[in-house]
């Protein structure tokens, strides 16, 4: 119905998915992106300094 078309997604993902194959591994591009983002978040959590670190240093 047209009246709720404003609720439609700006970037619709309704087309058939794309898949990556490496031997036995078969993964959708969408899942691959999510996994890469999780790994990047994990590495960032390891490497980025804790927020407020300088404040704590000064107060010591």
């Amino acid at each position: 119905m047209a009246w709720f078309s404003f609720l439609a997604a700006l970037i619709p993902l309704d087309g058939y998915g794309h898949y990556l194959h490496w031997g036995v591994i078969n993964i959708s591009v969408a899942n691959f992106i999510v996994i890469v983002l999780m790994v990047v978040t994990f590495i960032a959590a390891l490497l980025l300094p804790f927020p407020g670190r300088n404040r704590r240093k000064e107060s010591k």
Binding site: N26, S28, A30, V34
Partner: protein, 313 residues
């Protein structure tokens, strides 16, 4: 008094350094706001998967001969459901783990006689129709061996099945009332009445779709649609979502086992994969008690990266 030796795998040294204040409420609030905003932004950008449900009505209209072929197979007992064993019937031992007949031990909890529940029962629920009523009477008054002969004769000829002008036709001889059953069941399915007849409970709020789902999965139509969407078990389907949406990536290990031998070729893959995952879960649960494995974090030293400032000093 002798003190016990320090065991690096098990013991933690007493902390003698300073302490920093930590506001868990503030951190929780920030996390809630950030995740809430991300949810709204991502939902606005990408929406959510919203595929229409697949019904028996869709199936019988899109592929009437596949439906009719499945219906005769429900009568001759050659579908997956008919031969599955527990919890639906006693046709086989069901899923086994070596000598352990796990499914059989659970027993027939959802009894399904595919011939009666998927074909004859729904036909009996239709409003009066002289031809169908006569066919059902003929069936009921026949001996079991006569019924089997009729079904087998129809099955032998099912390669000649055609669908024309809304009718299923098969060039079968001595098939008794079976052609009427299959044709009327197909018409019933195409009208949507079979979807309603197969839902258990018989009231408006019933949510038990076991029978229609089993019937659908016995045919070729559902598998064909699933294959297009990469949702089959052999396509890592457990971790995929419809269309281009990300799916359940965290199920990668569970679905991985289905892709490799011996699970990929085993008739008991479901219970074997479940048992493998249970074993790995138990190992994870008791990790702090397993020498060698529990030393991995200490040896890998990722903690030194997190607390690098402390270790630098």
């Amino acid at each position: 008094m002798s003190s016990k030796a320090f065991r690096p795998d098990v013991d933690a040294p007493e902390w003698k350094g300073g302490h920093s204040p930590y506001d868990i409420i503030k951190e929780g609030t920030i996390a809630l706001v950030v995740v809430g905003l991300l949810t709204v932004i991502l939902a606005t950008l990408f929406g959510a998967p919203d595929d229409h449900e697949i019904t028996i009505k869709n199936w019988a209209n899109a592929a009437p001969t596949d439906f009719a072929m499945t219906a005769i197979n429900e009568m001759n007992g050659t579908t997956t459901t008919a031969g599955y064993g527990a919890p639906y019937n006693t046709a086989s031992d069901g899923q086994k783990l070596g000598p352990l007949t796990l499914a059989k031990w659970v027993g027939v909890r959802i009894p399904i006689n595919t011939e009666q529940d998927f074909v004859l029962g729904p036909l009996e629920s239709l409003p009066y129709n002289a031809q169908l009523s006569s066919a059902l009477s003929t069936w009921k008054s026949a001996s079991t061996s006569q019924q089997t002969t009729w079904v087998n004769n129809y099955t032998k000829a099912d390669s000649t099945m055609t669908f024309k002008n809304g009718q299923i036709a098969v060039n079968a001889s001595n098939a008794g009332p079976v052609p009427v059953f299959i044709n009327d069941l197909t018409a019933m399915a195409r009208s949507g009445a079979l979807d309603t007849a197969l839902v258990q409970g018989g009231n408006f709020f019933s949510m038990d779709y076991t029978k229609p789902l089993l019937f659908l999965s016995d045919g070729g139509y559902l598998a064909q649609l699933a294959e297009k969407q990469h949702l089959l078990g052999s396509q890592w389907g457990m971790m995929n979502e419809t269309n281009s949406y990300p799916g359940q990536a965290w199920l990668w290990l569970y679905t991985f086992w289905y892709q490799v031998s011996p699970f990929s070729t085993s008739a008991n893959a479901d219970v074997q994969v479940w048992a493998t995952m249970m074993l790995l879960s138990v190992i994870l649960l008791f990790l702090p008690l397993i020498p060698g494995l529990r030393a991995i974090p200490r040896k890998v030293k990722v903690y030194r990266l997190i607390w690098r400032e402390h270790y630098r000093n």
